[in-house]
């Protein structure tokens, strides 16, 4: 029809291609990580590497997805769930346990018990924040975020205080837990963490389809029939639980979410949160597995991976702050 020919075509680039590209890149990196330098020792090398790759993939996916959810709800692309102070609570819990009980106590040395304790404490903190600031009537996300930031600083200070008091030998153990590490993850931790993440995602799934509308802002979301407080509450709790699980598993990786979520926004020409979450999750896997590969084989372990990621993420954060004038 003549009239239809006059209408300009859609300006959007297809989203499938970049996602497939990311998936292939992630698969290749995982395969490389599994087989590189393994010559002959398959039986020994593969299972060990599989656990580490599993931990990296799980935390990459969890951080990628939870950051996109968090940024959609807060309508902000430089916030990450990290601002809520969960990672600093993690360091505080570790410091407190070691200070009070000593590093030989099973709550510290038994990684499984330690994992359960940390997850429980962080989940408790997240739910408490929600109860206080997101009850049925008020839905003030920003007040809640602010309290989270302040609480995070408090946790940080308390942890520093404990570290000053602590025995220098014990301090070494705290220090090793202050940064993310994939080397201490065992199969016994990986499975429960993966199952918990899956369960949380399944619980949040009904609210995920509201993400596109929530990103329009509260008024539009309400007008379009979203039960705003309920949807936001469920999604935020899910985000915190996911971050809690990931942090308890491998330790804090503050800036990873910022990097991979923004990478997804740049790479995909869409506002739709589904593809964005997929790209962000794959980006998380690529960043962690690829980073670890570069680290082990090019940099010969000269710096820990989180330092590398936080360095790159910090640069990106500065860049985003400087160009934040324009909307996304």
């Amino acid at each position: 029809m003549q009239a239809e020919a006059a209408v300009p075509a859609s300006v959007r680039r297809p989203v499938v291609l970049p996602i497939v590209g990311l998936a292939i890149a992630a698969a290749v990196l995982i395969a490389l990580f599994m087989v590189i330098n393994a010559a002959g020792l398959w039986g020994y090398v593969l299972p060990r590497r599989a656990v580490r790759v599993g931990a990296m993939a799980l935390s990459g996916i969890v951080i990628g997805v939870s950051t996109v959810i968090f940024q959609s709800i807060t309508a902000n692309r430089i916030l990450t769930p990290g601002v809520m102070g969960l990672d600093r609570l993690y360091v505080l819990i570790q410091s407190a346990l070691i200070y009070v009980l000593g590093s030989a106590h099973p709550w510290v040395s038994n990684l499984r018990t330690n994992f359960v304790l940390c997850t429980a404490a962080m989940a408790l903190f997240a739910v408490a924040l929600h109860r206080l600031f997101l009850d049925g009537k008020r839905t003030n996300i920003y007040v809640m975020l602010l309290i989270g930031v302040v609480a995070g600083t408090l946790f940080d200070s308390l942890a520093s205080f404990l570290v000053v008091l602590i025995d220098p030998n014990e301090f070494l153990i705290i220090q090793s837990r202050m940064f993310a590490s994939f080397n201490r993850v065992t199969v016994g931790l990986l499975w429960p963490a993966a199952l918990m993440s899956l369960a949380v995602l399944a619980w949040a799934a009904p609210a995920l389809r509201y993400l596109d509308v929530l990103a329009l802002g509260r008024d539009h979301a309400v007008s379009l029939g979203v039960d705003y407080p309920r949807a936001v509450r469920r999604l935020l709790i899910a985000v915190f639980l996911l971050v809690a699980v990931s942090t308890a598993l491998v330790g804090p990786i503050t800036f990873l979410g910022l990097i991979v979520a923004n990478l997804a926004y740049e790479l995909l020409d869409t506002y739709r949160r589904g593809p964005l979450m997929a790209a962000s999750a794959l980006g998380g896997v690529i960043a962690l597995v690829g980073g670890q590969l570069v680290l082990e084989h090019l940099l010969v372990f000269s710096v820990p991976l989180p330092v590398l990621i936080n360095f790159a993420g910090g640069m990106l954060f500065m860049y985003l702050l400087l160009k934040e004038r324009s909307a996304w």
Binding site: A6, V7, D212, V213, L216, S223, W328
Partner: protein
Amino acid sequence: MVEAHAIVKRYGPKTVLDQVSVAVQPGQLTSFIGPNGAGKSTLLSIMTRLVPADSGEVRLDGRPLSRYDSRELARRISVLRQFNHVPLRLTVRELVSFGRFPYSQGRLTKADEAAVERALAAMELEDIQHKLLDQLSGGQRQRAFIAMVIAQETDYVFLDEPLNNVDMKHTVQVMKLLRRLVEEEGRSVVVVMHDVNLAAYYSDRVVALKEGCVAFDGPARDVMEPATLKDVFDIEVAVGEVHSCRVCVYFAEAAQLLANGRAAQDVVVPGLR
């Protein structure tokens, strides 16, 4: 019918709405007019559940809004607020498609696409439907948002100053479209407006608010009285007729004419009749 019953709203010590009761009749175009800070926008927000009232109740067909399921309500009442900043990079068509969310939850059916097409056509947005919102002028963006609300196809449409940033030609286009929604599709439209002339001409009914109370509530034509308008807006207003259309003149010279004791009819622009 959407009824606001004895609505009270306070922001700190300031009472924005004081026991306001208004009923929006189905199949009518109702305008809320009044000076800045009279509570028009707040009343509209409360009647559309965007803002909770301190006391009082809003009912849709006799049932309180709070007792409706949010998705069901989104198919009955749509609302467009005054400041519409969207933090996403959306094209016009994508924005308008959001209006179908209450029906399809994001997965557009054929019927949804058709409704989007109709809304785009009604606002003459077909040519720019694939442009990004941040590439548009203020007026174009405003029309895109109105199209989103139209695509929602609700019985009641609430618009808070939809004519902001819209030029004369498109102002008339928007008002005619709202009239058509009322007359041809039997929908009810509520508009917050500043232009009394437009309100009186296009509305069936005008509700004037002043300092949180209803100062006038009646047929649109009756609001066009110098005394009524002076009471609402606190300035001298002259009312006359141009081409059998009642208009008011409220800027300095008109007031001067009135103050000089001349009849309102004199204000009619001589060359036009």
